[in-house]
Homo-oligomer: 303 residues x 2
Amino acid sequence: MRLPPLNALRAFEAAARHEGYIAAAEELHVTRGAVSRHIKLLEDHLGVQLFRRHAKGVALTEAGRNLQPVLERAFRDIVLGVERISRDAQELRILCPPATSLRWLMPRLDDFRTCHPDIRVRLTTDFHTLSGFDNTEYDIGFSVSKWPRNDARIAVETVFPVLMTPICTPAMAESLRASGPEGLADATLLHDTPRRTDWRDWLATYPVKGVSETSGDTFPNLDMAVKAAVMGAGVVMADLVLCRDELETGALVAPFPDLACKASYGDVCLVGERSRWEDPKVRLFRDWARKAAQPDVDRLHRA
Amino acid sequence: MRLPPLNALRAFEAAARHEGYIAAAEELHVTRGAVSRHIKLLEDHLGVQLFRRHAKGVALTEAGRNLQPVLERAFRDIVLGVERISRDAQELRILCPPATSLRWLMPRLDDFRTCHPDIRVRLTTDFHTLSGFDNTEYDIGFSVSKWPRNDARIAVETVFPVLMTPICTPAMAESLRASGPEGLADATLLHDTPRRTDWRDWLATYPVKGVSETSGDTFPNLDMAVKAAVMGAGVVMADLVLCRDELETGALVAPFPDLACKASYGDVCLVGERSRWEDPKVRLFRDWARKAAQPDVDRLHRA
DNA sequence: GCTCATGGATCAGTTTTCCTAACCCATGAT
DNA sequence: ATCATGGGTTAGGAAAACTGATCCATGAGC
């Protein structure tokens, strides 16, 4: 299997398509002489005449007429394949769970798009599959560091730590401050998942007599639980980073800011296939995410 | 639609298939440095990394893994297409009517094959279609020059003229010579076609009282009519070139050698699509046929 | 933990390929 | 007869590809 000179094939294909050397030369941005030489070279290589030469231009021989569509198709397939991988290489498919997506990533993502306008970002807001990370659908994902991953091919990198403390409306906070943590026994606990891990984790660190994570209302995600808290429905266990907005505007306040604990599931982190971890687009996103989280990390340290 | 450097694509394809530059370099008969440069060039051109470099060799990135099969297929298609036209270019498809085939072409064709062993000859022994010449199935054909062709795209070239005279067994010839042409009235005429044109043409030139082409037996082709004549079945109208063997061996003789006429259908000739007339293989066959017929032509002139 | 073998990266210098520019030639139209 | 068109051809220079030597990182073997 000996391939003929590829550039000569390309020249021939163009000449055959245009039925003339001049048009082909224009397409290839060369002179007619170059096209002429290429085609002669190819004919010599194959030992087959591809064009019959008239005074007024050239005409394909049967051999040439048979070869042209084969080449046109092959070259088109190559172009399509190349375009596809170029497109894929510039498309960053991110998976991000709802709370992190709505409350951290989406407000910041425009900055990433501005910094890297050539990268097409496709964000999917959803939870991970049970297996940990779907490396066929996504290039990178947000997750938590202590997720039970047993796949060595998945890389993990912390973005920001999760510090939790109860928060509620200013009015409710005032009465809680007056009563101390025991006042929580009279309050409605708001859980960001039906699993109630948020309050369980916090109560494990700061046990409060008469308060159990089994009480209170559950929501499918943190955003909804926080919205309920803003409406005065109860006390939500806040991730200090993800609830920054409400705390800054004063819509919600922390009655016991010193009673903050780390989440048992670890930090918010990025996960991705290790073999793709240094892909330019993935690398750029990781670098950007770390930088974007820096203010949040600093704020936690100051607190 | 901008094609990347084709030689770089080829180098990449080989490297991807072998999962290493050294094996690819061997396949391409170059050094690993050359492969390395090609692939770097391609990566720069595409702006996509195709290999991840380890200390122990390279591994395809997802982009590279996607691109390789596309290229492998495209290159394979090109090779197959090129091989096909090379093969076709060396295959000469000849159509030849039965008499000319059996009595002229086939005994001489081995000489052509010996002179041009690279050309694969495919002889079809059959009559032409009514339309004159099937240029899709055949590269060249034997025919007769006065065939009513109205297609200007068909080229025609005489091979040898057709001179006809009655021939028969020596015994029958002796009695005919004694009786003169009028003796034909008592003989059985043998016709090489049901159309009886052979005797009609000859009788138009040399009218014989009491002899008409409407009498006698017909055969599907000259060969069978001649065989019948050899068996003493009658007098056949012989093409002097095609019946040379029988005349030379004395199996048949011409009682009136001076009463020879040209066939109304003209000469035996070659026909073919004018646009393919100068194809190397066609050209070679035409030149060979003219040369092969020269002894026959000379013999007619001597007679 | 040192050494070596492996496989790729890099670079200077050379070879090969490719291209241009200017010319030629054949033919059909004016 | 002249011109316009479209290829063919050539020398010379630009661009590419290649070589061969050297360098480098790493994993295996001792």
